[in-house]
């Protein structure tokens, strides 16, 4: 089992969600995040004093998948989130040891 994590531009969330649903993904966790990569932050000016805001708003998506689906889910996210501009984000995959579905107590791949 794998956990696919993605940090993307907030305005791409709807498209990514639809693309994942179309690809058969049945559940995900979405949270608001802040961060920066190569684009760094932006500046704001208050009464002439300039503040450099390092962290910009992002959305983090987490999807649990079976081993065989990790690569394709990654491609779906990249395809839907991409604008080609700096700040588009990252997608990465990490191995998962165990999963349990709380409602039924199922374990392992059955719980995904």
């Amino acid at each position: 089992m794998k956990l696919v994590c993605a940090v993307i531009q907030p305005h791409r969330l709807d498209d990514v969600k639809s693309a994942l649903e179309a690809a058969g993904v049945r559940g995900m966790t979405v949270s608001e995040a802040s961060g920066y990569g190569r684009q760094r932050g932006h500046t704001e000016v208050y009464r002439g004093a300039e503040y450099t805001i390092d962290l910009v708003p992002k959305v983090r998506i987490e999807v649990l998948v079976g081993d065989e689906d990790a690569t394709s889910v990654t491609s779906v996210i990249v395809g839907a989130a991409q604008t080609g501009k700096i700040g588009d984000g990252k997608v990465w995959t990490i191995p998962v040891e165990d999963v349990a579905r709380v409602r039924t107590g199922e374990r392992g791949p059955d719980a995904i």
């Binding site: 000016v45 009464r47 300039e50």
Partner: protein
């Protein structure tokens, strides 16, 4: 005997008093929005606290000290009329009851004290602030109000024009803010950590309430519902409009963008500058006062970064500089056609009025600076003026008031028991 009471004037002054009183909660929003979320309640409480302490003192010995029996042109006798019991009966000779004037002037004393709090945001002990408010209003505000506005006051008799409080309110509060900012020192992380406004809509709301209330402040200072009040009303409006534009244009040229904080700040800068001048200039003169104040104050708020004092919300840059601008511009732009009936330099009146304006401005500035430094250092020595570094970093709201303004600031707070 037939009563001389003018019900139109009285109704307007009572209304204007309520308008000016609303300015202090408005100021609480204006200031509260500019601080960080962890100290907004304390910021607003300094304004509300000033309403409590100054309102009570005003009734006990404030009004007699400012407008009571004169002692040498410098001060009224606080014991003659203590508690205002002598003003309860109707006086048939008065067109405006003294109590209406008491009400109106109370609100000026309150907001002057509240204005100072913007210089010492995020770090002031609440008890020390309340003590300061009571001592300062007694030793600094009441005397200066007497000098400028009482019939026996020495600046009043000199012929200096301060229609609604450029010296008494704004120069006075502005320089007191500077003194306290120096005494308390910078906030931890000043100039390094971001201290941007946490809620700009609050700032805009506050500026709007201040502008609304300011019509009571300026037009009410006519102490009648008459032509003077009407001229003042229009001058107050148009100077403020012009100042907002002046500030925004300055920002657009300097920083690239016209900001909402700049609009709110320009509004207040214009109101401050037109306050002393609103009875002595024409509407064109008022526009000039406004534009100059908007540009000058937009530039002046940068001074603290160069000079290194943490006047947190720019009481100096807006109130001291704006107050000086308006008070001195009277010397240039006053026209005898306006209600005050005096010509300034540009209208052929020579430098006479300008000299009087400068004396009034710098007398108020010097007296307030010296007395505020003495009071401030005394409070710092006997009990301390500033909260602990831990309280400041974790948020003064929680440390001083035991509250947080927003639920998100109390991460992980779980209620275990409700005590009643």
């Amino acid at each position: 005997m037939e009563s001389a009471l003018n019900s139109g004037d009285t109704a307007w002054i009572l209304t204007a008093s309520a308008l000016v009183l609303l300015m202090t909660p408005g100021l609480a929003f204006f200031y509260g929005g500019m601080v960080r979320g962890k100290s907004v309640l304390n910021m607003m409480m300094m304004s509300f606290g000033a309403m409590g302490i100054v309102g009570v003192i005003w009734v006990l010995w404030g009004y007699p000290m400012a407008f009571g029996t004169d002692i040498g042109g410098f001060l009224g006798n606080p014991f003659d009329g203590f508690g205002l019991g002598n003003l309860l009966a109707a006086n048939p000779e008065e067109s405006l009851p003294s109590m209406a004037f008491v009400a109106f002037q109370a609100t000026f004393a309150i907001i002057t004290v509240a204005l100072i709090s913007g210089a010492i945001a995020d770090r002031t002990k609440f008890g020390a602030w309340m003590a300061f408010a009571g001592i300062w209003v007694t030793l600094v505000y009441f005397p200066i109000a007497h000098w400028v506005w009482a019939g026996d006051g020495w600046l009043f008799n000199l012929g200096a024009i301060d229609f609604a409080g450029g010296t008494v309110v704004h120069i006075n509060a502005g320089v007191a803010g500077l003194a306290l900012a120096i005494i308390l020192g910078k906030r931890k992380g000043w100039g390094k950590d971001p201290m941007r406004p946490h809620n700009l809509p609050f700032v805009m709301l506050g500026a709007g309430l201040l502008w609304f209330g300011w019509f009571g402040f300026n037009a009410g200072s006519a102490l009648a519902a008459d032509n003077t009040a009407s001229v003042v009303w229009v001058n107050t409006m148009v100077a403020t409009c012009a100042a907002m534009l002046g500030w925004l244009i300055t920002e657009k040229i300097r920083d690239g963008k016209a900001t909402s904080l700049g609009a709110a700040s320009g509004v207040v800068a214009g109101l401050v500058a037109i306050t002393p001048a609103c009875s002595s200039v024409s509407p064109i003169g008022a526009i000039i006062v406004g534009v100059v104040a908007g540009v000058v104050c937009a530039l002046a708020v940068g001074l603290k970064w160069k000079l290194g004092y943490d006047d947190s919300l720019d009481v100096v840059g807006v109130h001291l500089v704006g107050g000086l601008t308006g008070t001195l511009l009277i010397g240039f732009l006053a026209t005898a056609a306006a209600p005050a009936g005096v010509d300034g330099l540009f209208y052929g009146g020579g430098v006479d009025q300008l000299g009087k304006q400068a004396i009034a401005a710098f007398a108020a500035l010097g007296y307030s600076l010296v007395l505020t430094l003495i009071i401030g250092y005394a409070i710092k020595m006997f009990g301390g003026f500033r909260v602990s570094e831990e309280a400041e970093v974790n948020g003064i709201d929680l440390a001083v008031h035991g509250e947080t303004a927003y639920e998100t600031l109390g991460i992980g707070r779980v209620s275990t028991e409700v005590k009643a």
